[in-house]
């Protein structure tokens, strides 16, 4: 059943909330010229608001519904204790401008999270300011820029990005005022060193690299890449979206990266919230630490009752958001990190990688692997089935819905035709991964025997396939547009 818009439950004068009566004398009323007439909000009872959103929620699929192997998104289980943690009154009912001695608990959470993230990265310092991965990228690239300028080096205008990179990489680079140059991928899925060498000149500001890359492959020559870039005077930026493969496996700092971001909403189990909020802390080497966005939390144990305070790095690129960071997300990641511990982190990555390789092993006879190598935490298939030429990755993706599984990422990375990027994560059991593989094999058979089943999929979702062209043409973007 289609759920009506919230406005359908509206009646004039109805209100879904109760507020106290005014308990002070009324002031002179504001000049009517400054005041508005109608706002245009719906007028709905509390029960109808609740039901509306409950019914809407039932049209959604989440990690708590079933397997969500959305490549590059690390849709692992979101522990429920994290949700409880973020709702503690001392975490949620705290104003950002309270005196520091009334928020030492908040600052301790931030300080220790900075430290743990620095340790995992093998880097010197961390800023928790950025709100998401892309925000971290922008911060990091601005740090690279500030660093070069601080060296008096104004020629460097180019940032290199592999052709497999996520769209935010070039977009962030451009926002920082840099020119983007694309580097090719070699036949093993690594950065093509020959192509890379073409760009080794004094215009090079740096390179953004995701490792493991978006093909799910660990770049075997990453240290060589870093050496080349460093030799040319450039800096290495690490897109940490895929850190779920590297926890306790390798420290980006030791691989040659100078600055990187994390996605707490991927690697560290904070929920995606249907598109956010995220948190994208930046980590960097000592060389770049002064340029971090701030403020950071520092600790001086000598100060009684107020050991933690904020400090702005001396040559900071500045704030990238108001206040300090997505604290509520940071609390969840802190809780997760404290539960996992060092050994646990390595197990997380090991099993994430095992699950992906297991999927690849079970499916590779049926679907072509983009690269025939041991993959990391995700594997990329070509979503094509021999003997079913009219069937596309999209059809396979939609058909998975009918089996109660969320589709993998498709049509990304762009360099793989009909890509299906599968990231099971470590919290999927063998049984769950087996179910997924069996469904994928069944679908391949269906593709050959009954391709219409796939073209028409999904059949068991709240809606059938949606017309995106119509949406872009009609541009109905609000309730008001419907009128």
């Amino acid at each position: 059943m289609i759920e009506p818009l919230i406005y359908a439950f509206s009646a004039p004068g109805r209100c879904g909330a109760s507020l106290p009566a005014l308990d002070v004398p009324t002031a002179e009323t504001l000049d009517p010229a400054l005041c508005r007439e109608e706002i245009g909000l719906p007028q709905v009872s509390e029960v109808d608001v609740m039901r509306h959103f409950v019914r809407l929620s039932q049209m959604n699929y989440g990690v708590d519904t079933g397997m969500y192997p959305l490549g590059s998104c690390t849709m692992k289980y979101n522990p429920k204790v994290n949700e409880a943690a973020a709702r503690l009154p001392g975490m949620s009912r705290v104003h950002p401008y309270q005196p520091l001695d009334t928020v030492q608990g908040c600052l301790q959470v931030m300080y220790e999270t900075q430290r743990m993230l620095a340790e995992i990265a093998g880097m010197a310092a961390v800023s928790l300011q950025p709100s998401a991965g892309a925000h971290g990228e922008l911060s990091g690239v601005l740090m690279i820029r500030a660093y070069h300028l601080a060296q008096g080096d104004t020629k460097r205008k180019v940032i290199l990005i592999p052709d497999s990179a996520h769209g935010t990489n070039p977009a962030s680079t451009a926002m920082a005022g840099y020119e983007v140059k694309q580097v090719a991928t070699d036949t093993r899925g690594n950065v093509d060193l020959d192509d890379l060498r073409r760009f080794m000149n004094d215009e090079l500001a740096g390179m953004m690299l995701t490792n493991p890359n978006t093909l799910g492959l660990f770049d075997e020559q990453v240290m060589q890449v870093a050496r080349l870039v460093h030799a040319a005077g450039g800096l290495m930026y690490g897109d940490g979206a895929n850190m779920n493969a590297l926890l306790g496996i390798a420290k980006p700092g030791e691989l040659g990266f100078d600055v990187m971001h994390y996605n707490l909403h991927k690697t560290f189990s904070t929920p995606h919230g249907g598109g956010g909020p995220g948190s994208g802390p930046v980590a960097c080497t000592a060389q770049l630490a002064d340029f971090l966005p701030g403020p950071l939390v520092v600790c001086d144990e000598k100060v009684k009752d107020c050991a933690y305070r904020f400090e702005m790095p001396v040559r900071s690129i500045g704030r990238v958001k108001a206040f300090y960071g997505n604290f509520g997300v940071i609390v969840r990641a802190y809780a997760y990190l404290r539960m996992i511990g060092a050994d646990g982190l390595r197990e997380v990555s090991e099993i994430a990688v095992l699950n992906a390789n297991y999927v690849a092993a079970r499916l590779k006879e049926t679907y072509r692997l983009a690269f025939e190598r041991t993959c990391m935490h995700e594997c990329v298939l070509e979503g094509l089935v021999e003997g079913a030429e009219g069937v596309h990755a999209l059809d396979i993706a939609k058909r998975l819905i009918d089996y109660g599984v969320h589709p993998p990422t498709n049509y990304f990375p762009l360099i793989v035709p009909e890509a299906l990027m599968i990231e099971p994560t470590e919290t999927e059991s063998k049984e769950s991964v087996d179910y997924f593989c069996e469904v994928m094999l069944t679908i391949a058979q269906e593709a050959r025997e009954n391709p219409e089943l796939l073209h028409g999929a999904p059949h068991k979702a709240p809606l059938g396939r949606l017309d995106e062209v119509k949406a872009a043409r009609d541009l109905i973007l609000t309730y008001q547009d419907n009128a």
């Binding site: 508005r36 909000l41 249907g274 958001k321 095992l354």
Partner: protein
Amino acid sequence: MTFVPHTRAQVDEMLETVGVESVEALFEAVPAAVRFPALDLPPALSELELRNELNALSKANENLDDTPSFLGAGSYNHFVPSLVDAIISRSEFYTAYTPYQPEISQGTLQAMFEYQSMIAALTGMEVSNASMYDGATSLAEAVLMAWRMAKGKRSQVVLAGAIHPEYVEVVRTYIQGMPLELVSAEMDALTVDTHTAAVVVQYPDFRGEIQDIATLAEAAHAAGASLIVVAYPIALGMLKSPGELGADIVVGEGQPLGNALAYGGPYLGFFACRKKDVRRMAGRVVGQTTDVHDERGFVLTLSTREQHIRREKATSNICSNEGLNALAAAVYLSAMGECGLRQVAQLCYHKAHYAAQEVAKIPGLSVVNERPFFNEFVVHSTRPAAEMLEAVRARSGILAGCDMARWGMDAHELLVCVTEMNTREQIDRLVDVLGEVLA
């Protein structure tokens, strides 16, 4: 606890299927010298131990359920109906990703469409995106959008009057690689000309005052510049909408709409503009369409503006936004509705004016705002604000406001915010204690 469900036997079986000897063997691509580093981290805790730890950390903070507060300045202690949390705690909402698969994401998509609709109504604009990171980054993105609207040919952005200093800092950070400069100017001494891409004004401004947006809009438009209004959404329950007053882009902090204070985040930036400019807008947008059975449904649309399609030519790099916060805002606006939001605004207005009037009676204190204000006002004190705040707190536990010196402004000024959460009793107590402190 790692949340890994694998038994040892299953790991072995899987290794066999994969065709490797050990888990370690999966990592041979990692240079051996740096493979499997030791991590110096605190020991793993069980959930029980973690909860004890978190409770202790939480108790190491004062929280506004226990502490009366007159803090505002961009983060506001408003009432959040209990049903907001009941809804955003629904697994299907908070454990979903961005709605890339619309057939199984209609919950998120329709909620975002409703959010867009309500933000458009509130701001008096035609379209809204599905959220930005926060109010400050929303402003930065608005400045970049205005620059694009000026086809990159105008290099100046005029910051008119009192704007939240941290917002200005964020804009400065964002544009440091861009051929753009920021010019701050008093409201009565603005230069807007053919170099001006945009004029930015806060509404009410950082000092709580309701500026004359309409006149500013005229000035901006006369020079071919855009007017960007940074609005406080609760005030829009009472004040003329920026759209009505001529704004081209309206942004602001959506936290007051049903989101927790959470020590400064996660919040959400709202972002609204005219429909004709929507292709230059940053961020995700949900549009209405139909499915193959001709049923009404929703999808992400206009994605050709976005990074995953347009890459370095995208209108912004933003990918994950603040979806769940926007959901909270949608639920809040639905529950409060027309009457509720109006009532909240009225409560804020009258309580703040009562507080201002009483505070102003205290010798040594004065309310220095010259224009009408909404629910925040600036108090000048003969004693330094920092000293006074500390003294009030020591006597009463009350957090009386923000010291303007925090942002490098007048150390004898105090920004005081009053909301529907402040009872008369709290206000009267504040006034008494201020009187004592200044006596």
